[in-house]
């Protein structure tokens, strides 16, 4: 079927198999490979993107379901001039990433979290990121990064 998805502000139209997952639309058709696949069961959150402003796991959304939607990936987060989004800046400053594989999904989940709860407690950050797995950091610096980004918001 033919779907049109606006990815990072740019409409992309493609005739895809009905079963095409949004994550593969992003990676193989839009050629935006930052969004990763880490599991088969909606568990790890590596594929998290914003769909119409809210975090979703793009491995559990059909491209057909996203037809007409606005999708933001981590590639679309920095400003026009390349200046980092406050969340990206905080992840670097607080060493919230190591191998980087969970990072795009983690950052997008964190952006969505602060949108819904601009000043979370540490516990709220942890709960808000329960759908995103990281094997490298022990989450310690990810939590600090999100709290730092929230601080910057205020």
């Amino acid at each position: 079927m033919k779907v049109t998805i606006t990815v990072n502000g740019e409409p992309i139209q493609e005739d895809v198999e009905d079963r095409t997952l949004l994550v593969h639309f992003l990676r193989d058709i839009a050629n935006l490979t930052a969004t990763n696949i880490g599991c088969d069961t909606t568990s790890c959150g590596a594929c998290t993107v914003l769909m119409d402003g809210e975090s979703v796991k793009s491995c559990t959304v059909l491209a057909a379901q996203a037809d007409g939607a606005e999708v933001t990936t981590v590639e679309g987060l920095a400003g026009q001039g390349g200046e980092l989004h406050p969340m990206q800046r905080a992840f670097q400053a607080e060493h919230g990433l190591q191998c980087g594989f969970c990072t795009p999904g983690m950052v997008m989940a964190a952006v969505s979290l602060l949108k819904e709860n601009p000043h979370p407690t540490e516990d709220e950050v942890r709960t808000g990121l329960e759908g995103n797995l990281c094997r490298c950091t022990g989450y310690h610096n990810i939590v600090r990064a999100v709290l730092a980004a929230a601080e910057e918001n205020s």
Partner: protein, 270 residues
């Protein structure tokens, strides 16, 4: 992993959804948020020929005050239940429990109707609507009918819905007693409940203690007969057939049910 091939059809209205399901019959599955169905399809544990996407049927996404009850559209997302001011005021148990489903991403997509129609006894919301004595409204080719929550859940992944019926609304009577509690026992916050308890006043329902969500009838009867809560809670596992899985044995589940029901009653009454 990738689902096996299927044909995707999108319904723009409830009527169209019913028509499409009628057209394809048993080959079709309704796709709401997709967060129960798509993972099963990716593991190829579900292989429907046709998916009828009802995710855009906005007319079925609402939370309304209908006088003696709250009417909830079947396609209302968990996220919207969690943040509904009306629910917070009238049905805090449901709002709170919706906030415990899955994770934020899942709650942005998953719907109450999808969760109920999936009929997984380990899910949170089936037990909640059971404790709240909700009525479920189904629409089929010959019109609508009402199904009490107590009759809706027939077994693991089985409901009272006919294959050509669409769940459209959940009607929850405004509770007579305001005290409530939701106890979800898990290893990790993100897990399905090993055992869970939804209590509204003295109405108590159990998660994952059998093939369907269950009312803790023995507890409720004891409470009605004036038995103190702590003693009544000892009856929590009566009449249950808890499953064995890698998280817990039936014995441990029975024990948890007793502890969690006691805590739920204590919290609901405090």
């Amino acid at each position: 992993m990738i689902p096996a091939s299927f044909t995707y059809r999108r319904a723009e209205s409830a009527d169209q959804a019913v028509a499409l399901v009628g057209e394809y019959g048993d080959e079709a599955k309704l796709l709401a948020g997709g967060h129960s169905l798509l993972p099963l399809m990716k593991l190829r544990l579900a292989v429907p020929e046709v998916l009828v996407d009802i995710g855009r049927v906005r007319e079925l996404s609402y939370v309304r005050d209908a006088g003696d009850h709250i009417a909830i559209g079947a396609l209302t997302r968990h996220h919207d239940l969690e943040h509904s001011e009306l629910l917070a005021a009238e049905l805090p148990l449901l709002a709170h429990a919706a906030g415990q489903v899955g994770d934020p991403q899942v709650r942005h997509r998953g719907t109450i109707g999808g969760s109920l129609a999936h009929s997984d006894p380990a899910s949170d919301l089936p037990a909640v609507v059971l404790a709240l004595d909700a009525t479920l409204v189904a629409r089929g080719p010959s019109g609508t009918r009402e199904i009490p929550a107590g009759e809706f859940f027939q077994g693991l992944f089985e409901t009272a819905l006919d294959p050509d019926e669409l769940l459209t609304e959940i009607r929850v009577p405004k509770p007579a007693t305001s005290g409530w509690s939701f106890q979800k026992f898990t290893k990790r916050a993100i897990d399905w409940a090993i055992v869970g308890v939804a209590a509204q006043g003295d109405a108590v329902a159990l998660i994952n203690m059998g093939g369907t969500p269950l009312r803790a009838t023995a507890v409720e009867q004891a409470l009605a007969g004036g038995t103190p809560a702590a003693q009544a809670a000892e009856l929590a596992a009566e009449g249950t057939e808890p499953p064995t899985d890698l998280n817990a044995s039936p014995d441990f589940r029975r024990h948890l049910a007793r502890v969690l029901v006691r805590r739920a009653l204590e919290e609901a009454r405090s």
